[in-house]
């Protein structure tokens, strides 16, 4: 901790971006019928905040993330990053998807280098790739190909591939959804400490209530499709947090109640 505290003033953390989602609605055309997925969604995220988007499976949370990432334009409404409308993908907003989607023809190093290569700055900044790989603890696997990695390792590589760009906003689309529970617990703690150290704004889509309250400053609960905001809950506990925290358990119970799942609690 001492080393970290000493290092922080030397390497200034990139400031997190603010996000404004204003009256956003979205729908899909499926065989001619219009299927609404987001209905009049509005919320704001302060710079450096960690916000979890929680809701039933298939409610449209991931669609919202695609809009924030700029991969698709919304049908109506506006999304703003630092006050500027989002019109397309930009490497300051990077996404970690549920599947690691590593490029199988590239080894770990080349996968992590992807963003810098795409932006044409790789030649001057190769050290950033090494640093990102070190950060996720995979230095020994630089030359490994994706098919040689476990699920958890592959998702770490995907995380490094995102972090190497020094994002001001990290968009996590159920990144731990397919991992075994032990790996998931480890990586939740890693994500929390990475976020604390770097100061980027984080948006996390998840359907794991415990994960949401353990990681986020705020949990936004969505209704079933078309997704509307049901509740916006502040998680007022300091970091590092403990899973056994009574307040977190209480919040979890409340949120499960909102989702109509509190019977077993």
């Amino acid at each position: 901790m001492v080393a970290l505290a000493a290092a922080e003033p030397v390497a200034p953390a990139p400031a997190g971006a603010s996000l404004h989602v204003e009256a956003v609605s979205h729908a899909f055309d499926i065989d001619g019928t219009v299927l609404p997925v987001l209905e009049d969604v509005s919320f704001a995220v302060k710079p450096g905040e960690f916000v979890a988007l929680l809701g039933p499976s298939g409610c449209g949370k991931s669609t919202l993330l695609r809009l924030v990432a700029g991969l698709d334009p919304p049908r109506s409404g506006t999304l703003r990053e630092n006050g500027q409308p989002i019109t397309g993908p930009f490497p300051s907003r990077v996404v970690v998807f549920q599947d690691p989607t590593l490029f199988p023809w590239r080894n770990v190093w080349d996968n992590v280098a992807l963003g810098l290569e795409a932006q044409g700055v790789l030649k001057r900044q190769r050290h950033r790739v090494d640093a990102a790989i070190d950060l996720v603890g995979l230095s020994a696997f630089r030359k490994a190909y994706p098919h040689q990695l476990s699920g958890g390792m592959a998702q770490r590589v995907a995380l490094a591939r995102a972090l190497v760009n020094d994002p001001s906003m990290l968009i996590l689309d159920e990144p731990l959804g397919k991992l075994d529970s032990l790996t998931r617990i480890t990586m939740q703690a890693e994500i929390a400490s990475l976020w604390q150290r770097s100061g980027f704004t984080t948006l996390l889509v998840t359907h794991d209530v415990e994960e949401a309250v353990f990681l986020a400053n705020r949990v936004i609960v969505f209704s079933d499709r078309p997704a509307r905001i049901k509740a916006d809950i502040a998680v007022d506990r300091p970091y590092p947090r403990h899973r056994g925290d009574a307040r977190l358990a209480e919040l979890r119970r409340n949120i499960l109640g909102l989702l109509g799942l509190d019977v077993t609690w």
């Binding site: 993908p89 930009f90 989607t101 023809w105 992807l114 932006q119």
Partner: protein, 346 residues
């Protein structure tokens, strides 16, 4: 040698796997003996082949019978020496041990062939020449055969390179651009399935030389499968890859060159492989009909003069060349696609 492996050598291997594990230990005695036995038998078979050449009088007039017998004895001695020398000869000996059963079969086959043709004429003679007649072609008609090989390789290489490049570019364009697809796809459907040989008459009066006509035909035969497979490769690239690259700041050209093309490469190689096969067929037909050089022409010429041994000799060379070309292609693929699991080993 440890006690463990010594005791292990007493029993015979119980399964194929165990046997293979045994073979990995070059010094263990029974295996040295078993593999050596196959090697020794192979040596005997080759010596038998040599003897079969000398034992009886040839039924025809072939000048290379003695030399062939000597070569067979030399090979037999080599096989026996390598089998006995075993461990000291390292990888070469190991390779020979693995191939010993094949060498044995080959020796027996050659002996049978020699007896069935040159000695007893069980097979009608001018049509089924003995081994020494084919050797005679390789020694006496070498310049003409080499010229034919060079002509064939040149024609094939040129046509194949043009066809592969054109097919690859067309495939990527159709797979990537909707408007290119709109115009090229119908043309491809109309022209592609036509066997390239059907263009022969057209090509030979349209092009200035038979050489350029054949190059065109070979390129055409290559381009069709390469185009279709490249196209399907590019079209089947998962959107998730593009999403990832786009969020990381990829430009459209980056998406094509660094995402679509590498992701499509396994398909492209299937296309290149199929293109190679169909281009061989076109090459031989083109040489038989129009071009006055090459192995196809040599085959045609040999058949015209009833020089059947020349025909077989050319066929053997052709088979080696085609197989070599495919080996080369697969080696290139294995090198480029190391990231792929479970590819066919040629």
């Amino acid at each position: 040698m440890s006690i463990y492996s010594a005791s292990k050598t007493i029993g015979l291997p119980q399964s194929a796997e165990e046997g293979a594990a045994f073979a990995g230990r070059p010094l263990s005695l029974p295996i040295g003996f078993a593999a050596g036995r196959a090697g020794l038998l192979a040596g005997v078979a080759w010596a038998g082949f040599g003897l079969s050449c000398l034992m009886w009088q040839d039924l025809g007039d072939w000048s290379r019978t003695r030399q062939l017998a000597i070569a067979a004895f030399v090979i037999a001695a080599g096989i026996v020496a390598t089998s006995l020398g075993g461990g000291r000869l390292g990888r070469f000996a190991a390779g020979l041990q693995r191939r010993a059963p094949w060498l044995l079969a080959l020796g027996l086959l050659l002996t049978l062939w020699e007896i069935a043709t040159a000695k007893l004429a069980w097979l009608p003679l001018p049509f089924f020449p003995p081994p020494q007649a084919i050797i005679e072609v390789y020694t006496d008609d070498l310049p003409k055969l080499l010229d034919s090989v060079v002509a064939s390789v040149k024609l094939q290489l040129g046509g194949y390179a043009i066809g592969a490049a054109a097919g690859f570019l067309t495939g990527v364009s159709i797979g990537w651009s909707r408007s290119v697809g709109y115009w090229v796809h119908p043309v491809l459907r109309f022209i592609g399935p036509l066997p390239a040989t059907a263009w022969l008459p057209f090509a030979f009066f349209t092009f200035p030389s038979s050489w350029s006509a054949s190059t065109f035909l070979i390129a055409l035969a290559t381009a069709f499968p390469v185009t279709v497979l490249t196209w399907s490769g590019v079209a089947s690239v998962s959107n998730a890859y593009y999403d990832v690259a786009r969020t990381l700041g990829a430009t459209p050209s980056f998406l094509v060159l660094k995402v679509a093309v590498p992701a499509a490469l396994p398909h492209v190689f299937v296309g290149l492989f199929m293109g190679l096969g169909s281009s061989f067929a076109v090459l031989v037909v083109a040489e038989m009909i129009g071009v006055k050089a090459g192995l196809g022409w040599y085959l045609q010429w040999a058949q015209g003069w009833a020089a059947y041994s020349n025909m077989y000799a050319a066929l053997i060379v052709m088979s080696l060349l085609c197989s070599g070309a495919i080996t080369l292609l697969f080696r290139t693929r294995d090198r480029l696609l190391v990231w792929q699991k479970g590819v066919v080993k040629w």
